[in-house]
Amino acid sequence: MRILIVEDYEPLQKSLQQGLHEAGFAVDVTGDGPEGLWYAMGSEYDVIILDIMLPGLDGLEILKKLRAAGKQSHILILTAKDALTDKIKGLDCGADDYLVKPFAFEELLARIRALLRRRYDQKNPDVIIGDLHIKPTTKQVFRDNLPIHLTPREYALLEYIAMRTGQVVSRTDIWEHVYEFNASATSNVVDVYVGYLRKKLDINGKPDLIRTIRGQGYILGASS
């Protein structure tokens, strides 16, 4: 999953970036308002963490512009403004969530997970497809009740494809949602990682979970 952080206070920016990256997200950061807007318009972020007091362009303005442009990213406002009127204003402008500083990092993670479920129309926190069991809260994966150990990138890839179970996921989609902006790109990095993932998942001769649809992409689970 791909996250954009728009926050100008450096210590916070740095710690968020580190924390979210370690949690397995592809993270882009900026401390500048206009730059944040540019990033958000340019890519399909799953979640955008948006501060309000930004240099150059107010956070709410960015929000309005994104919504007006039809961007579907889920936006969480992260700000010190805690007045009721501020919260209402933020949510009514199109934000999906509102978190007041200072906050517990764990809470931020939980809210991001909730936003991601919403993004992919998943109600169940756990993703269960056949005998595959994914727990996003703990990043644990089980197949047939046997734990499977994945690297962060592999997990991110699996999570994304699993969230979109039943849909064909193109390489571009994967690229957009699993890799951050300046990830080093080789033309078949996606294929390579899918290969890694398959190797770990398809154990004991069990059927392939991730199937290739030629010319289109991959699919996990039965077609919807």
Partner: protein, 498 residues
């Protein structure tokens, strides 16, 4: 308890009316009394004059004057003539009794009595009978008037008319006589009495009515005042959005309404400023707190290398130091607001103060490759509180160092004016636009670009500096000049001791 306007108005009206009516009544009564009495007295006088005209001095009685007896008989039918036993004066006194019936019958209403000068002889009207009228006279030839008690105990008025009459035979001999003519004046006095009571009654009624009218008028008239008072009372101090309508305000209250509205606006602005300040303070404190919390939480979220922990701790510490300064400034600010800090004034040499303060920034300046020039005249001094003044200079220099460009210049100078000294601190390379100048003294304001300069500098400095300056009786001005975007801040110091 202060006296109410209504009571005062009412009291004044009643007292005023009473006084006016009192004076009026007295004048009216006096005039009326004089007039009717005068009228009465005039008729008394004319009667007295008439009576005195018919008195003839027969002279001393003479035994030989027998042929007068015939005359006497005649006159006895018409009038009366008297003879005195003692002084042998004989007076003839003739008048037609039909013309003056009042004097004829006992207690007829009119009375007269005649005396000679030494009161040895007297002549009474029939109406008097055996009684006497009260004698009163003076030596002047003017008639005298007096109230008297009549024989039938009725109130009367009498005139005392003194006249001379010559002896019939010998005109050289003049005798002085006094006529007292009295009449029943009960009608007169009854009327005056009635009139007196009438006036009093009317006055009382008028006073009462005017009191009622005044009370009503006062109540109605003062209604706008009550309305205004109610409106004022209904104002909520915590949420003063009320504005007093000046439309229905009478002319006298309009200035009060206007003033109240102006005050309300000031209060509202002040509250708004307060709210903004509180919101800003919250933001300024929460942001670094969030930074610390996030840094530490992320660091603790998994096992790490010692170096990572160290870095996280150092970052957190740096942030706490910023917060420390912020909290310190806020406390200083609230203490200033409460004016708890006593000022100790002393004479300060400006050049030396600036040099001393600059030492704190010398290293930082060196790192940035800055040039510092102190052009203040050695002789310039000011008399003020050293600690606070030092704080102002320190803040201004800190700002200059913070915002100056690399390799830039900071110049301090002073101009000696009439009764003030203008101390200026300039730095080149300022990012401020001319429009920003009106904001720089606001709390927590930072020019956008300055925010990303360092994440740690907080914009409260100039606002606090301005407050401290105000307490010391100094003023701050700022301007931007074009060559090299030079930002100059000027402190006006009064040279006379504060």
């Amino acid at each position: 308890m202060t006296v109410s306007l209504r009571t005062r108005l009412l009291g004044s009206v009643i007292i005023g009316t009473t006084l006016l009516l009192g004076i009026f009544c007295i004048i009216l009564y006096t005039l009326t009394r004089n007039m009717v009495t005068h009228q009465f007295d005039r008729s008394l006088l004319s009667t007295a004059k008439m009576l005195s005209a018919v008195v003839e001095n027969e002279g001393v009685e003479d035994e030989e004057d027998d042929d007068d007896d015939d005359e006497d008989d005649e006159s006895h039918e018409r009038g009366y003539d008297y003879r005195i036993a003692s002084s042998n004066l004989e007076l003839e006194f003739e008048f037609d009794v039909r013309m003056t019936p009042e004097f004829n019958h006992l207690h007829g209403g009119g009375y007269y009595q005649l005396w000679n000068r030494d009161r040895t002889f007297t002549l009474r009207s029939p109406s008097l009978g055996k009684s006497n009228l009260t004698y009163f006279a003076n030596n002047a030839s003017e008639p005298l008037y007096q109230r008297c008690q009549l024989p039938d105990n009725k109130p009367g008025r009498a005139v005392s008319y003194t006249f001379l009459t010559a002896e019939k035979e010998d005109h050289a001999q003049l005798e002085q006589f006094t006529f007292i003519v009295a009449r029943d004046a009960s009608t007169l006095y009854d009327f005056l009495g009635f009139f007196r009571w009438l006036l009093l009654g009317c006055s009382a009624a008028i006073v009462l009515l005017s009191g009622l009218v005044a009370a009503t008028v006062a109540r109605i008239g003062l209604r706008p005042v009550h309305t205004l008072a109610d409106e004022i009372e209904s104002v909520d101090e915590k949420n003063p959005q009320h504005f007093f309508s000046t439309e229905n305000c009478p002319a006298e209250l309009a200035p009060i309404c206007d003033r109240l509205n102006a005050l309300m606006e000031r209060i509202q602005q002040s509250l708004q400023q307060q709210r903004r300040f509180n919101a800003d303070v919250a933001h300024e404190l929460r942001t670094p707190l969030a930074g610390i919390q996030s840094t530490i939480e992320v660091c603790l979220s998994r096992d790490r290398q010692a170096q990572e922990y160290q870095q996280a701790l150092e970052n957190s510490l740096a942030i706490t130091q910023t917060m420390n300064r912020l909290v310190g400034t806020l406390l200083a600010l609230s203490r200033l607001e409460a004016e708890q800090i006593p000022l100790e004034t002393q004479t300060i040499t400006l050049k030396e103060q600036v040099e001393r303060t600059w030492l704190n920034f010398a290293d930082q300046a060196h790192d940035k490759g800055l040039t510092f020039e102190n052009h203040i005249d050695d002789a310039l001094t000011c008399v003020t509180d050293r600690d606070h003044f030092g704080m102002i200079i320190s803040n201004l220099l800190e700002n200059a160092v913070e915002y100056v460009n690399e390799q830039g210049q900071i110049i301090v100078s002073a101009k000696n004016r009439d009764r003030t000294v203008e101390l200026s601190i300039s730095n080149t390379g300022s990012d401020l636009a001319p429009d920003d100048l009106e904001h720089i003294f606001e709390f927590f304001w930072r020019a956008d670009t300055a925010r990303t300069h360092t994440g740690t500098h907080c914009g409260i400095g100039l606002a606090v500096v301005q407050k401290v300056a105000a307490i010391l009786g100094m003023r701050l001005n700022a301007k931007i000049d074009q060559p090299k975007s030079t930002f100059t801040i000027t402190l006006e110091l009064p040279t006379a001791p504060q």
